[in-house]
């Protein structure tokens, strides 16, 4: 279940859901903060494109901390 791994990643990075949403929004993500919070907590699914924006937002934080893109993207 990839969304559970994303929530684990968020916790591992010590980011609030709001901080993740701002990074995601900055990359062009279209979900609002409540929808993103729901997805991170396992409530439903989102389209592959939005998922990849979220993954990239988290991966950029990982990269800044010395980890090379640990979260995988979905093929479009």
């Amino acid at each position: 279940m990839n969304h559970l791994r994303l929530e684990d990643a968020r916790r591992q990075l010590g980011l609030s859901t709001m901080e993740v949403w701002v990074d995601y929004f900055a990359l062009g993500g279209t979900l609002d903060a409540i929808q993103l919070n729901g997805y991170l907590r396992g409530d439903g699914d989102i389209c592959d494109a939005d998922h990849n924006v979220l993954v990239h937002a988290l991966n950029e934080v990982f990269l800044a901390r010395g980890h090379d893109h640990p979260l995988t993207y979905r093929p479009l």
Binding site: M18, E19, A26, G28, A49, N52, D68, L76
Partner: protein, 132 residues
């Protein structure tokens, strides 16, 4: 030098609680009277600490909102630049918006650069026009 040497004979401490915060504070009073503090003093001190808690909570809410507005301003800048770059790529490669983002994402991943910086390069290159 001890408190007693300074004539301090009693003290009263009341916590200043801030909900949801890892920061704790206290309100400490010291007196020279042997009888300590009266019940009225304690009630007054607790009322003051309660008001102080509200002031701290309001200040935290203000600074949280300030930080969020600053972060959102940066996010809007980034988002705008990325949307422009997606537009350039869509036009150049005849692709849809999601595929354009994926191109930027792949370039960001393979070069270990922020996607926003990759997007800025695309926009700058496009706006520079053809080489003379």
């Amino acid at each position: 030098m001890s408190a007693r040497a300074n004539g301090i004979r009693c003290s009263l401490s009341v916590p200043i609680k801030v909900s949801g915060s890892t920061t704790f504070a206290g309100f400490n009073l010291y007196g020279k009277a042997l009888g300590g503090f009266s019940d009225a003093d304690k009630e007054l001190c607790q009322a003051f600490a309660g008001q102080a808690s509200i002031v701290v909570a309001n200040a935290q809410a203000y600074f949280a909102a300030f930080e969020l507005s600053r972060d959102m301003a940066k996010a809007m800048e980034s988002r705008s630049e990325i949307e422009q770059a997606k537009g350039v790529l869509m036009s150049t490669h005849r692709i849809d918006a999601d595929t354009a983002f994926d191109l930027l994402r792949q370039q960001s991943q393979t070069t270990n650069r922020k996607l926003r910086d990759v997007a800025a390069d695309v926009v700058n290159e496009a706006s520079a026009g053809p080489d003379e």
